[in-house]
Symmetry: D3
Subunit: 270 residues, 6 copies
């Protein structure tokens, strides 16, 4: 469905990266996989290109020859500052700057609910509200969104920033009933982000067709995204296995869930 | 689905109260019924507790031991001021103040379209627009909504205020095609209002899946409410039996219908 | 479904006019057809009344005796100024002024995406945003919308202005996947615009149930419009036959498509 | 400046009532004073008409013959529910209903910051935000605003609801630097509310020209209100005499100040 | 202050045109005057160029050689349709199309309060609200605004559309206290509209520093416009000479005043 | 005016830092100066504490014992990524994290117009619009704003983020007429940011009383900020010395001026 000649997929060995490989040539004629370590079980349309995101030269070589990037790589959970700094801040700068130098046209970025995790569950928000990160991880996501905005406004590189909720095999707690993104819908959302003709800099939320949504996801719809799954189908199961939370627990009150409730990472680990 | 130990249902003998009894233990382990007169045909999980809402001591006893309240009681149509005053204003104050004294956590309140009945049909509104009541009855509904807001902001008692449209067995006029709430959907909406983990103070509209809606009902969706019925299924029947109204008739022009068109109650009755 | 005694359909010989004739008596007991030339194959409920829209007297006679008008006539594409002026500006003034003189109650007007064609595809807009026409044709559409607003505010004649996207047998390019309005949905939308009890002056978008929509079409929903078709069903076919456009091409960037990309009409024709 | 023949001033013996008497015939040709007890030192244009607001017949007699009302009477601070109920809820209903029966055209009502006292100081709000009362007193103010809205929408009686901040001789704490309304400005605001030709139902904030305002007071400006005083002139004095508050103290955090911080009235008094 | 070489001033013989001539070379090095008849008392920097706006060739010659236009010409009050059509619709099209052909960079257009005259006085509006014309004259103003929007979006010709309130020597009725624009402020507003470096397509309101304003005039401020006069200075005089209007009179209720209250022009003249 | 015991001023040797030292004890009882090199001419209430912002331990020692911070330090113009990274991203993280560890209550941060530099001049924005940085420098400012938001939402450390326009001795180009912040007003704005009782996380714009403002600066007003200077006083001088810019030049079109117009920093320097 896309006309991309060579797609770079970072984080190719991660959970979502592995799922996205299933999209095959719907991502691009050739899909260049990149992770810290070599990827396995390459398909004919795949090529492997391990790189450390914090190493600009390595990133630049990985980007060279690609016309689009799915940037799933980096640190995917709260972590010490230096990890966040190198993996997500420096790493994503390297991706964008290499993209500029090599003429990449579009980037699909795995942002996160944690970029806006301090909104309350009872607030319906869209992609234009001020960001309210719930963790250093979340702060790094807002950094990359601003970077994407800048590279579009100045250099014309388009970005779809997908604020992914909870992408797991199935919802296992009551908050997931709101934020769940099935793997199948995740693949569709990335594919549609690539094939839409004009995206500019766009923020869309990564969730399935969950009726409990606290997100106004019109931008995703405008990409042609039609989720096929719904957390609603798991509601009875989840309700049966879990207790109703305390509405005053920050993990219940805020969209970011346990991230919003956690203390400072390094204090917590002591 | 809820973890409430004892649910107080006021107005238990009314049309909606009777419907809600069908939800059974989905409301709470024990459902305490309250109306002016004793209720009949008690189920094992039900207990009867008649009380006059305008009598604080009686209300306090009815509330004691409950952890949540479905407040359907009071005067349900336009009436002389003293009736509205005692049944809806004093009565609802009694409910909220007793709830505070006895540690109730959540109240689901039967508010009404008549709290916003002077918006025009051609306006799409959500729960945050300024209220525009169409009757003293409607004014009393806005009073209780403000009371609920206050008790949440100050004392942390959560409220879902359901602005119910037209909850009847089926739609019988063209305005009902917009405002109808089936009994089944009404039950679901109340159940979801109880089981959602965090509601704060929330206003949601009580309507089925009617395509002609003039309400943006995102808050209801965020509770997990997925209406199963639609007034659309009755459109042909209703169109066949009724004539197209005059768009300048206040009963057609305004969301409140005949309430907005009516004169002063006591003048009308002369 | 409507109670209109005699409906005037202008542009009755055009593509949409021809489709609308299929609605038959759902438009009115008698449907008076008007085009520059006589219409053919009249049904028993139809009467033919050819008229040149730019001739006030002819229009006045055509309007006389009608209680509602579906105004599809005029110039339907970009054209030299004098054509736009006479067919759309003078012609529509004649319709509205004749309507006033003869007591017409409601007008359904075929406005166009080209009234707002300079919004970007990535913007979701509703009917209240400032107009941004992409052509003199589009400017003429905004003129008629203002005329309709004026005749309602001052004289109480109701108008539904339908900003029609792309009404063709099926979508043939990627932009159509966003803007397509099937003939069947077009008929329904006009019928619902007539049968809704109160419309005031309303702008609604004419599109089918296309997930890629850049329009917030709540007003259409409030009329009871439930599209039965979707451009999504043609997506694979269209993707297969077309290439991904350049996001910086004005025809891709803007909602108006090729109209926004075109130069000045008469320069282009040289 | 106004053309009113006879103006009823309720609460004429209170602090603001006493100030408003200084406006003299700028309020009306005759100013009828009403308080629970007789007023003193009547001017030639004044007449005294003591009445208990909770007594409809007394209120009706006081209203008879007046064409406008300045409604300053009732309970002016938090109080037990029964006091609030009788003085503010029943009392104001009596005013509005008597106004309807006797053809009064306009009412200027002394509402309060406490109708929206649970907004944070850091939020800028206008008169259209949902009310968030900080006390039963504040709830009663929202009741009267809804009553005023209703009597305008249905019966055409105009109201300006003035949400008065802190009207004292001078600001004495840091919150007053935001909310202060000088007596002189209070008089002007009431006079302008009376002389504006069209007010419909309008909410305006009662504050002087304080730069620290958290209110968008365009509606007051549209009445022609140009405050002559400013709390800014007292800033040095107030800063010198007071300490910087704790930003997490509810009395500092919320617009309602100590009202928002107080517990339940009757609990507090124990 | 501007760098324009030759400024075309249409309507140069009208009331505002005559005032604007006083701005002299602040408008441009040479000011080309255009009216239906020759202008008198030319200054050295002025040249006279009479033209009928409805004659494209005459307009084209008048525009040739100019780099900016102040378009004050046309019909300035309600009139029969044909007058409005030729003077304002055809005439303004001629101005814009000639501007395009001759490379004009910026147009300052005398739009009017009557483009939005059906908003109520109690509504505060800015330049982005949907237009609500109160007359055919007002409809023609909205036509030219859309034309200006189109010529900017497509051809890059900038426009400041000034919705002028009431520009007279002094305010003489109570509505003027809201809408008055002194001649001095009118000149300043036009000068600032010319000298601002970037205006795109902008709508600004033409009023002096009147505290009763129902317009949010930020766009005018952003041009550097600082009104020196205020209708407030005439308030006592106007109040003394006029009576308080009936709030239900359309001339009082709506922003357009008597235009909103008038019936159809030609009916009125019978 | 503030009750702070010890205020840390970073960037104390820079242009704004030097100006802020003139505020003396209005900042705090003791003002601890910090820059890369020792500061000169210490006043009795000042203490010197040189530190490299990118060195956490040095920052931590500088912060220890302070209850508030004015964070003016770091890189103040576009620079190579590594400079931005260390001075602004790592440096500001160090400030915030040290503040958390040492119990600092409030931070006033020197953000910049370049955080939103890609808005057009013709857009009026407030502090809640999505950020649109015009440079890597601007991206770093948005990073710190998100960091401040996070440290407030999670740890309760208040921040006022001042998006400073152009703080120079006087305006020297036409864009400065919009964005100028006099040194005197800069000092006042920082002082008011410190003395306001509750700021939460707040964005305010740093500009003097310039009529050409494209910023809605209500938040600054709510702090009590009343600018004493205005770029307007320099308008004639600036207009006399400069030419009208080309509206299509990005330096004219965008709020960020030359930053928005510049290419990539390192390309430019080649």
């Amino acid at each position: 469905m896309t006309d991309y000649q060579r797609m770079l997929l970072t984080g190719a060995a991660g959970a979502l990266g592995t799922q996205l490989r299933k999209s095959g040539t719907r991502l691009g004629k050739i899909v260049r996989l990149s992770a810290r370590k070599p990827c396995e079980n390459l398909e004919p349309h795949e090529e492997d290109f391990p790189a450390d995101l914090s190493d600009f030269d390595a990133v630049s070589k990985a980007v060279e020859g690609c016309d689009a990037i799915i940037h799933m790589g980096g640190q995917g959970l709260e972590a010490p500052w230096n990890t966040i700094l190198n993996a997500n801040i420096v790493g994503s700068y390297n991706i964008y700057e290499a993209a500029r130098q090599h003429g990449v046209k579009r980037i699909v970025y795995a942002s996160s609910v944690h970029a806006i995790g301090f909104y309350e569950r009872t607030e319906t928000i869209d992609g234009n509200v001020p960001t309210r990160p719930d963790s250093l991880y979340g702060v790094s996501k807002t950094f990359v969104e601003n970077l994407g905005r800048y590279y579009f406004d100045k250099f014309g590189i388009e970005t779809v920033s997908l604020r992914i909720g909870s992408s797991f095999p199935e919802p296992t707690d009551r908050r997931h009933l709101i934020t769940w993104l099935s793997y199948r819908d995740c693949r569709q959302l990335v594919e549609k982000s690539l094939s839409a003709e004009r995206v500019g800099f766009m923020v869309a939320y990564g969730m399935s067709n969950n009726s409990r949504a606290f997100w106004d996801n019109r931008t995703a719809a405008s990409l042609g995204y039609k989720p096929e799954d719904s957390a609603d189908d798991y509601a009875d199961k989840v309700f049966g296995k879990t207790k109703q939370g305390d509405p005053n627990d920050p993990a219940v009150r805020f969209q970011g869930g346990s991230f919003a409730a956690a203390g400072h990472y390094e204090d917590e680990k002591k």
